[in-house]
């Protein structure tokens, strides 16, 4: 009886075999089960008996193959029960051909949902299984994969009816549907003023650049960051599946297809493991939960150094690799990084700052810690003044308008970068950039001037050009001009 064990964000096929022979009545489960799997004996027995089915008074041996994979959790209950039913001749074996099951059982014989339904049905398709039987709550998520027939079954008794073709379930609405418009997401229109940060956010969204916002407490750093998913292009159907699968595995899914890009804002006390994932039984971290969306690090200077160090590789490679025993898991981690920080510990910054010199120095040193060379641009937020918050004050530009420009800029990038296998300007390698950047005559003049004055390093140089390319894309220009480069220089991370 095929079922699935979750490994990271993938489902591995596990076959449950049940042997029934005469002898002292017993029920043994072998094949590296953990305690929850062992306890399935009691649930399976009670569920069968309470469903008016027979639990054979015989010596039962269940094997979970491949035997070397550790099995955990209650999701094997259903496969074990079906294995017992099939081995004792209570359901026709032919009906189980090409069919996988996954579900937890209640003592009364009801099916309970499992985590990672989408990952499991993707596993079904890969294994060539036609049919997947799950609890009704898991069905919508599982049905997002088109090629697998998903049967929502409420109880064990119904399952037996189904296999005897005495009953057929209502098929769940199948197949991925287009993402609904991002209506309930927070809107940029709520943000008054903050022209610099708005512009920076738009450029960052358009080119996938990472952004650091510097501003006093209450200026709206978090508010702006939360509005970033709303100005990013909507999830494509493949991306939406990707997000749904990851969230389903940790039990965060809503049941249907993800409509919004994820936004994750871990607190600064988070550990390295919480950020990138891990543990004895590897669990995805925040960077994976933010996959295809935004990872927001508020109070960047307060994060523990090891946590930020751990984040470097996932940000660069777009995935987290975790090795446990014989297996290596890969968690996806394609995120846009946005960070925020106060200008100094007292938060006032500039002339109003009251921090002692050494305190400020230490804060600056922490801020230019391990992640600063992963930051593409820095912008400034002003303290909010009363007149901007007054009821009659004009609203900002709404997210939809910004999203339109961002989407056009993204489209221009994908046309240009189609053959390179990357989607955004930020992902261009140094070589791709030299070939693709398209500088107008004399466009590099501000760069040369900045280099001459010692305002820019070699690494910063390429970063500014990528940014300038994005600014040109936003203005739908074919060539990068000196004005684009000069604006990009303004956002560079000051040495």
């Amino acid at each position: 009886m095929p079922t699935f064990a979750l490994e990271g964000v993938d489902a591995r096929e596990v076959t449950v075999e049940v042997d029934v022979r005469r002898g002292l009545p017993a029920f043994a489960i072998v094949g590296l089960p953990d305690t929850a799997v062992r306890e399935a004996r009691e649930r399976v027995r009670a569920a069968l008996l309470n469903s008016d089915l027979e639990f054979p008074l015989a010596r039962l041996t269940a094997n979970l193959a491949p035997a070397w994979v550790r099995k955990a959790g209650a999701s094997f209950d259903l496969a074990l029960a079906v294995g017992v039913l099939s081995a004792s001749g209570q359901v026709p074996a032919a009906a189980l051909e090409g069919c996988a099951v996954s579900g937890e059982l209640s003592l009364g014989g009801e099916l309970r949902p499992v985590r990672g339904a989408l990952a499991i049905s993707i596993g079904c398709r890969r294994a060539g299984l036609r049919r997947l039987i799950v609890a009704p709550e898991s069905a919508a998520e599982a049905a997002l994969v088109g090629d697998v027939e998903v049967c929502p079954v409420p109880s064990l008794a119904r399952l037996v009816d189904l296999l005897h073709e005495r009953w057929a379930p209502e098929p769940p609405r199948a197949g991925p549907e287009p993402s609904p418009p991002v209506a309930d997401a927070p809107d940029l229109a709520d943000v008054r003023g903050q022209l610099d940060a708005r512009r920076a956010l738009e450029i960052a969204a358009a080119g996938g650049h990472s952004l650091l916002m510097i501003g006093p407490p209450g200026a709206g750093k978090t508010m702006l960051a939360r509005r970033l998913p709303g100005i990013l292009p909507p999830l494509t159907s493949d991306e939406a599946l990707d997000v749904t699968r990851v969230h389903g595995v940790v039990g965060m899914g809503s049941g249907g297809l993800a409509a919004l890009r994820p936004f994750r804002a871990p607190h600064h006390t988070i550990s390295a493991q919480g950020l990138v994932g891990g543990g004895a039984r590897p669990r995805p971290g925040e960077v994976t939960l933010a996959h295809r969306g935004v990872l927001f690090l508020d109070e960047l200077a307060e994060f523990a150094r090891p946590a930020l160090e751990a984040l470097r590789q996932p940000l660069e490679l777009g995935e987290v690799e975790i090795t446990r025993g014989q297996t290596t898991l890969a968690f996806p981690s394609r995120v846009m990084l946005v960070a925020a920080a106060n200008p100094c510990p007292c938060g006032r910054g500039g002339d109003a700052c009251t921090c002692p010199g050494m305190v400020r120095d230490r804060y600056r040193a922490r801020l230019s810690g391990p992640l600063i060379d992963r930051i593409d641009m820095v912008c400034q937020l002003a303290p909010v003044t009363a007149d901007k918050l007054a009821p009659g004050a004009p609203l900002g530009e709404p997210s939809a308008a910004v999203r339109g420009r961002v989407s056009r800029a993204r489209a221009a990038q994908s046309r240009r970068l189609a053959r390179s296998g990357i989607a955004t300007n930020a992902a261009m390698t140094a070589r791709q950039m030299r070939e693709q950047v398209g500088l107008a005559p004399r466009a590099a003049q501000p760069l040369t001037a900045a280099l001459d004055r010692g305002l820019l390093t070699g690494r910063g140089h390429d970063r500014v050009l990528r940014l300038a390319r994005t600014i040109a894309d936003l203005e739908e220009g074919d060539l990068v001009t000196a004005v684009h480069v000069a604006e990009a220089l303004g956002y560079r991370v000051a040495a």
Partner: protein, 365 residues
């Protein structure tokens, strides 16, 4: 011919040898520092007392100049003594002038301070952002006027002044209270390396010596004597900075001070100097007026503004007024993208610069 004679070399190493006992002597307040440093070799050995006297006399009798010279070469340090060319003449104004100076870097800068006036910029370690900016700008401004900036490489004001000078590719001299090969404070390892490469590090103590409490005021007297003008940027009351200013006054050198906020603790010392009649130093121009006489220096830098267009000038006004980005957009009536681009132009022409991480401010020279 070597730049140091055997006797002065021996004197330099003797002070190194006795650095710790001298510290003990001064702790017990038996002598004043100036008295000790003015003593002849043998008298100094006798004055120390205890077992150190015997050790010192033994050292004086058996000193091997060749070994000391090899030691200097190993440490990449040059010694310059008062009997040879290259010793800055103005140091002789000190009653207890150092016999030998141990140097690392461009030693020619030392002799140049005699021919062309240099400026010492000193201040507190615990400086305010304002003080750091002023010190940085002074270093940079003096460098672009071709004048050497002298300071003590301490945290805060000292380092800002050095960095300003280095940033403008100018000459700077750091006078240390430890051996010239030691980067103290350790946080300034990079700065030390940069000054060794681009400027000069000087000390009265031979290589390898750590700093003692007494060696800081001793170093201050050298800073005060080397420069024709000492500028106090920020200093608390009863601080090492005021000791330097006191030495400079005793030597008849000019002392100026940068005004600070009267409510700021670290500005009390500087403001007190002003109250006592020290000239006000607002920027490099004031320092140059004080150093060379009013109007004797070229005002070429001031003409930079003439080729700005009206929009740029308005932008510059906005930055000078300390407006934030939204404010600048409103004041200049420009789009944020234009503002960013135009600010970059002003930055690359050196009229404004990044303030901290994300803001802008006017460069003051």
């Amino acid at each position: 011919m070597s730049t140091v004679c055997d006797a002065c070399l021996r004197r330099g190493y003797l002070i190194g040898l006795l650095a710790a006992p001298i510290a003990g002597l001064l702790e017990r307040r038996l002598r004043r520092p100036a008295e000790i440093m003015a003593l002849e070799d043998a008298e100094l050995a006798m004055a120390i007392g205890g077992s150190s006297t015997g050790e010192a006399l033994d050292f004086l009798a058996h000193f091997d100049p060749r070994r000391a010279r090899a030691d200097l070469t190993r440490a990449a340090v040059t010694a310059i003594c008062m009997h040879r060319e290259g010793y800055p003449e103005q140091l002789r104004d000190l009653p207890d002038a150092p016999a030998a100076l141990f140097c690392r870097g461009r030693t020619e800068l030392l002799a140049a301070t005699a021919a062309e006036p240099a400026v010492t910029v000193v201040g507190t370690r615990d400086a305010s952002p304002y003080g750091l900016d002023v010190a940085h700008d002074l270093g940079r401004g003096l460098a672009s006027a071709g004048i050497t900036t002298i300071s003590g490489m301490a945290l805060g004001i000292d380092a800002a002044a050095h960095r300003g000078a280095l940033g403008a590719r100018g000459a700077t001299i750091a006078v240390l209270a430890c051996g010239p090969d030691i980067a103290y404070p350790r946080r300034h390892r990079d700065l030390h390396a940069q000054i060794c490469a681009q400027g000069l590090v000087v000390s009265e103590l031979p290589p390898g010596q750590r700093a003692y409490r007494w060696s800081f005021p001793a170093r201050n007297r050298i800073m005060a004597a080397l420069a024709r003008l000492t500028v106090v940027v920020e200093a608390g009351e009863a601080s090492g900075t005021l000791i330097t200013a006191g030495f400079a006054q005793d030597l008849g050198r000019a002392v100026g001070a940068v005004p600070g906020r009267v409510t700021t603790r670290v500005a009390h010392g500087a403001n007190k100097l002003l109250r006592d009649g020290a000239p006000v130093i607002r920027d490099t121009g004031d320092a140059l007026d004080e150093l060379l006489g009013v109007g004797m220096w070229s005002r070429a830098q001031a003409t930079d503004l003439s080729n700005l267009d009206p929009a740029q000038r308005r932008l510059l006004d906005a930055v000078e007024a300390g407006l934030d980005m939204d404010g600048i957009c409103a004041f200049t009536d420009m789009e944020i993208a234009q503002v960013r681009a135009a600010l970059t132009e002003l930055e690359t022409s050196g009229l404004i610069r990044r303030d901290g991480l994300a803001g802008w401010e006017r460069s003051s020279h």
